[in-house]
Symmetry: C2
Subunit: 337 residues, 2 copies
């Protein structure tokens, strides 16, 4: 059984659990609010659901440790709602008009309703996690709820840095990496942790799962930064060096700003031509930014795999779910998922 | 020992617990985010803290039932942070530039950072509530966390209605009352509940406490609507009939829109003169809005006191804390607090 067949088996269940949980909340008096949440989840006409990577990770980890799937579902549902709450608010903060091929919530319903809809989804993520008290011992449910909110606070710290960067000329690479850890690493780490926790695993295993997820999340984001400049437009669906055109302060660009005075001065051009953009991408390569980012992505990828190998030696031999976890990392980091 | 002396005793403790809890969160890497939260709480130079009514209510209820104050503090801290999270987001949604005599968070730091700061405070409220696992049995902590999030969802439903009202010509009075219940009643109800819960009280008492708090919150809000038109400017600090001037769709105004065609047509005037405002206030009185709102406020006030009397007969005779609860209601509803 490989990743693809497990996905085919699990994704419809994830979708059903997500929808059922929303349906069970008391929205009788405010159907319009429920519609906003349902729309954002990709369930209204024309929408398409996200990849559900976080709940998938939780369920695969739970199964790889021989847990019961039903014990893990409240956590899986919670993380997907939490992730989507952050997207609703991020879209307002970034003024993004589109996501997943449809208008964002704020663009369709206005900023006030979108802030409030995000808050509602945040509450729903919390309620879902507390559903663990029906599937797991009380101390596990409490620990999970506590970790969820430690991670939420970490997410807001990453987001605080990200918003701040817009107004800063330069950002130290370490600060940028801390931002990534908060915005992407923390929640993927929790997704892995909760798989082990709901399978009854103890602290040392949970720590390794967390290390695995954290590095997976960071590696994914650094690779995203790499592809934002050197990705194949046919695969990324964006123009060549799009992060230069949109002036996004990603890791290679911050490296360039600090290590190439020529790149730093070209960066001042407000609307660079495509020729100038290509020249800037070349400058990043010459000054070592491409190698730096590539090495960093490889290093964190190696760390993610090393943690997974500690838990499931020989690439998860003899354990279908563990093998699927290895495969999921490979697919995610090769951007085929 | 009356309310005033209990307040003098408890308020500094509440403030210390609130500050200590924030100080114990890991903000080393994002001191700027912590500053935003601290500023909103009224702790930065020139700021002034709010009235801390919700934590005070929790602590008084806990003490009236002979609970241990230290068991109740995590809940008290949580509710105050939760209330303040809603204020940060409400101020953005209402575009309010000022609160408690200082610039609001969004007005000072911009909308993106303010949304995110609210989310951080929401997470902090959750973490504080989960601190109950150190002072109470696990099932109490889980129940409290669950109730917190049921109330959060209820709050967002109230807020959804409130934002929707802006775009509607008329709103049924029942819908308006449901909005008030969500926006104000639910959290005050929880404040009372948690006092009993942390004192180890069982379901039937918690239900009565909830009923007490819910009616107290609703009565307070209806009275606020009353004072927005017929309040003494010297006491309210606002101009006469200020809610007419600012076009706020409060209970008396909605009653007037539905019961007086003359009021409904005057309401269409975009910028009424002070003479027109006074005439509209008179029309509200003539059509029965004043009596309707007064009776409604009195009815919910009576219900709040009746619930409290069930718990503490004879106005809390022989129980200082229970007496202080009665006094707190009287003072709150007479707007002297």
């Amino acid at each position: 059984m490989n990743l693809k067949s497990l996905q085919q088996q699990l994704l419809p269940k994830i979708e059903t659990h997500l929808q059922t949980f929303l349906d069970n909340q008391p929205f009788e008096l405010t159907p319009g609010l429920k519609e906003m949440l349902s729309y954002h989840m990709g369930w209204e006409n024309g929408g398409r659901p996200g990849k559900r990577i976080r709940p998938l990770l939780t369920l695969l980890c739970n199964q790889a440790f021989g847990g019961a799937l039903s014990d893990a579902f409240p956590a899986a549902v919670s993380l997907e709602y939490l992730h989507n709450f952050t997207l609703i608010h991020d879209d307002i903060e970034d003024r993004s008009p589109q996501r997943h091929g449809q208008d964002t919530v704020w663009y369709r319903w206005g900023i006030p309703q979108a802030i409030n809809a995000g808050d509602a989804m945040f509450s729903i993520a919390q309620l879902a996690m507390l559903g663990l008290r029906e599937t797991c011992p009380n101390d596990v449910a409490l620990h999970a709820a506590h970790r969820l909110n430690e991670v939420c606070l970490h997410l807001t710290q990453g987001q605080y840095l990200d918003i701040s960067f817009e107004y800063e000329d330069s950002v130290p690479l370490e600060t940028y990496l801390m931002m990534i850890e908060g915005k992407t690493g923390a929640l993927v780490a929790l997704a892995a942790e909760l798989g082990g926790l709901t399978a009854g695993k103890h602290a040392s295993i949970i720590r390794t799962l967390s290390e695995f997820g954290r590095n997976l999340g960071i590696a994914f984001q650094i690779q995203d930064d790499f592809l934002g400049i050197w990705g194949d437009p046919k695969i990324t669906g964006k123009s060549t060096a799009s992060d230069i055109t949109t002036k996004k302060k990603t890791l290679p660009i911050l490296y360039g700003l600090q290590n190439s005075t020529e790149f730093a001065s070209s960066w001042q051009v407000v609307s660079p031509t495509s020729k100038q953009v290509q020249h800037m991408a070349d400058l990043l390569e010459t000054c070592g930014a491409k190698d730096y980012v590539k090495q960093h992505a490889e290093h964190t990828t190696d760390q993610a795999f090393a943690a997974l190998e500690t838990l499931f030696p020989n690439h998860g031999e003899g354990n279908n779910y563990a093998q699927a976890l290895f495969e999921m990392c490979e697919v995610l980091l090769a951007r085929k998922m």
